[in-house]
């Protein structure tokens, strides 16, 4: 993450140039109060968009195929909101494990240890190379393929015997399936972030005696976050919708399957599709708001621009700092 400092350094000098001293305010010229530029193009464009939007909404409201009364009836139906909760929890859990595993895989991929590198590469090759739908079907069959798990030293001693049927519900199989697939994509996103951080950062941290782990956690990862977050937001939103594939496991308690089942009940799929879409859009909006704040947090220090508060603090300090000067 190159901070560009070459050659432009003189811009924010030591704060001791004459024009900004405390006495300068007395004879400073009046602030400019210019008449803002007129921008008719914007108004015309806005008018066209509003008219089109109105026409669309009017059409939708009057078209009986949308069946708005059914829509209104089912939007907050207990079964629907519960299914929406399942979708949300699947998304959050799968992304959580996907991100954690992705970070581990990315670090392994960059590690000097060749065994770790190849394991990571093989994992990526497999999970990115097969469709997530196929993987989910496979996870559903897992309990059939491996009916029991024996823990122990192979052929010698057995500590424990577990029936897979009791161990994993379809819900958790869906979480695992989605998370493992996601980890492969997250690994590449995290790797791109880590390699985008300037080598000098790692060097400076090591020169201070920080361990590899401290350097990663405190110095490299926080800077990599700026690169990692936007595509991760993408992944999160895409995961929200990928959860509709878990019928392959088969898990049918999430939003899409549930609304489809209800559509059979009402004989009209369109309002139920609208119900599902509304919920997806609602969650997506919340996630986007979260992303905005995360991005703002990790962008700190990235720009020369300062917040109003920072500028005020500097201006206050200037009064004191000026007289003191440099050593």
């Amino acid at each position: 993450m190159a901070i560009s400092h070459s050659g432009t350094g003189s811009g924010t000098g030591a704060g001791s140039d004459p024009g900004t001293g405390p006495g300068a305010a007395d004879n400073a010229p009046e602030l400019i109060q210019a008449v803002p530029l007129r921008r008719p193009g914007r108004w015309i464009a806005a008018a066209i968009v509003i008219i089109l939007l109105f026409l669309f909404l009017y059409g939708a409201a009057t078209n009986s195929a949308y069946d708005w009364s059914t829509y209104g009836h089912y939007l907050f139906d207990k079964r629907v909101s519960k299914a929406a909760g399942v979708t949300l929890s699947l998304t959050v859990l799968a992304m959580f494990f996907g991100i954690v595993l992705g970070v581990v895989l990315a670090v392994m991929r960059l590690s000097p240890n060749p065994v770790l590198r190849y394991v990571s590469f093989g994992w990526l090759w497999f999970f990115r190379g097969t469709p997530v739908y196929v993987q989910l079907v496979f996870w559903g069959l897992l309990v059939v393929i491996y009916k029991q798990i024996d823990l122990g030293i192979p052929f010698v001693h057995q500590f424990a015997h577990i029936d897979t049927q009791n161990l994993l519900t379809y819900y958790w199989l869906a979480v695992i399936g989605l998370a493992l697939n996601e980890s492969a994509y997250m690994a590449e996103i995290v790797r791109a972030g880590l390699t985008s951080v300037d080598e000098g950062q790692d060097e400076a941290a090591r020169a201070l005696g920080m361990s590899w782990g401290q350097t990663m956690r405190r110095i490299v990862l926080p800077q990599a976050m700026r690169v990692i977050i936007p595509p991760t937001g993408n992944e999160l939103i895409s995961m929200l919708k990928t959860t509709s594939l878990v019928t392959a496991v088969p898990l049918t308690t999430e939003l899409y399957s549930r609304t489809r089942d209800l559509a059979v009940e009402t004989f009209n799929p369109i309002p139920m599709l609208l119900v599902a879409s509304t919920w997806y859009l609602f969650f997506t909006s919340i996630l986007m708001i979260g992303q905005f704040y995360l991005e703002r947090y990790f962008a700190r220090g990235a720009s020369r621009k300062m917040s109003v508060r920072q500028l005020q603090a500097l201006a206050d300090a200037q009064g004191v700092g000026n007289q003191k000067g440099l050593i």
């Binding site: 993450m1 901070i3 400092h5 070459s6 050659g7 350094g9 003189s10 811009g11 924010t12 000098g13 030591a14 704060g15 300037d198 000098g200 950062q201 060097e203 400076a204 941290a205 090591r206 020169a207 201070l208 005696g209 920080m210 361990s211 590899w212 401290q214 405190r218 110095i219 926080p222 800077q223 990790f298 700190r300 220090g301 990235a302 720009s303 020369r304 300062m306 920072q310 603090a313 500097l314 300090a317 200037q318 004191v320 700092g321 003191k324 000067g325 440099l326 050593i327």
Partner: protein, 254 residues
């Protein structure tokens, strides 16, 4: 005289087939300032990086404060040093880089207090108070909350020096600390370094600032193509270089 702070005996460094250092021998006594000069590519940075084990020496021996750098010697054999021990050696050696390498996501104050808190396990309040003292010492007490991108080059480099000092190093390494700076900002950084030298800090400085070398350094080492060509008192070397290569180089930078 006690054990010197840095003792280098025939230090060599190869990158694969490329031989960069070809037997560097020199000593730096406690409290001394040594300036390293030489043409680009002569291996000055590489030698500095060997001293705090950012690069591993491939032949010869290097001691800092009487301790072998980067290896344990047991039963007449050298063993590669575990990362933990190398980190322990590094934390007593401060390093200042040409490109500052401040942590852009931390404020000036946090840049300075980070390593004492994480590495030395100092209490946050203690480390922060000390960081404020150091900022004051480099003349930047009003910039505690500024991020590096909001500081001028000279200010960034002074924060970087304060960051290195926060670990209470016994040796400071400077790799061309002023060569990325606009001319009018060079002085403020050199002033901080002079102050440090007067305070008795042992320093090795790679620089092209011959004025600084003449005024502050106890010895001047001229390197070329991975060897020490000549060394001595700065005034003597600068006024009366013995070697052709030294003469040629000095005629360009003076």
């Amino acid at each position: 005289m006690a054990e010197p702070m840095v003792r280098s005996e025939l230090v060599c460094k190869n990158f694969g087939a490329l031989r960069v250092l070809k037997g560097i021998s020199l000593t730096v006594d406690r409290g001394e300032v040594t300036c390293l000069v030489g043409p680009s590519g002569s291996g000055k940075s590489t030698f500095l990086r060997c001293i705090n084990h950012l690069e591993q020496v491939t032949a010869g021996r290097l001691w800092v404060d009487g301790e072998l750098v980067g290896y344990h010697e047991r039963g007449g054999k050298l063993h590669e040093m575990p990362a933990k021990d190398a980190a322990r050696q590094r934390r007593d050696i401060g390093m200042v880089f040409q490109k500052f390498n401040l942590f852009p996501h931390l404020t000036a104050l946090e840049n300075i207090s980070e390593a004492p808190i994480r590495v030395k396990k100092q209490k946050k309040t203690v480390a922060t108070d000390r960081a404020r003292e150091l900022l004051d010492q480099v003349g930047l007490s009003d910039k505690a909350k500024a991020y590096p991108a909001q500081l001028s080059g000279g200010q960034q480099q002074r924060v970087a020096i304060a960051r290195a000092l926060a670990m209470d190093p016994k040796l400071m390494l400077f790799d061309e600390p002023t060569s990325a700076l606009d001319p009018e900002l060079v002085g403020e950084v050199l002033d901080v370094m002079k102050e440090l030298a007067r305070g008795g800090m042992t320093m090795i400085v790679v620089t092209h600032e011959m004025g600084f070398a003449r005024e502050v350094a106890d010895s001047l080492v001229f390197m070329d193509a991975g060897v020490v060509v000549e060394s001595g008192k700065p005034r003597e070397v600068l006024a009366n270089p013995q070697h052709e290569r030294t003469k040629a180089f000095l005629s360009k930078v003076l």
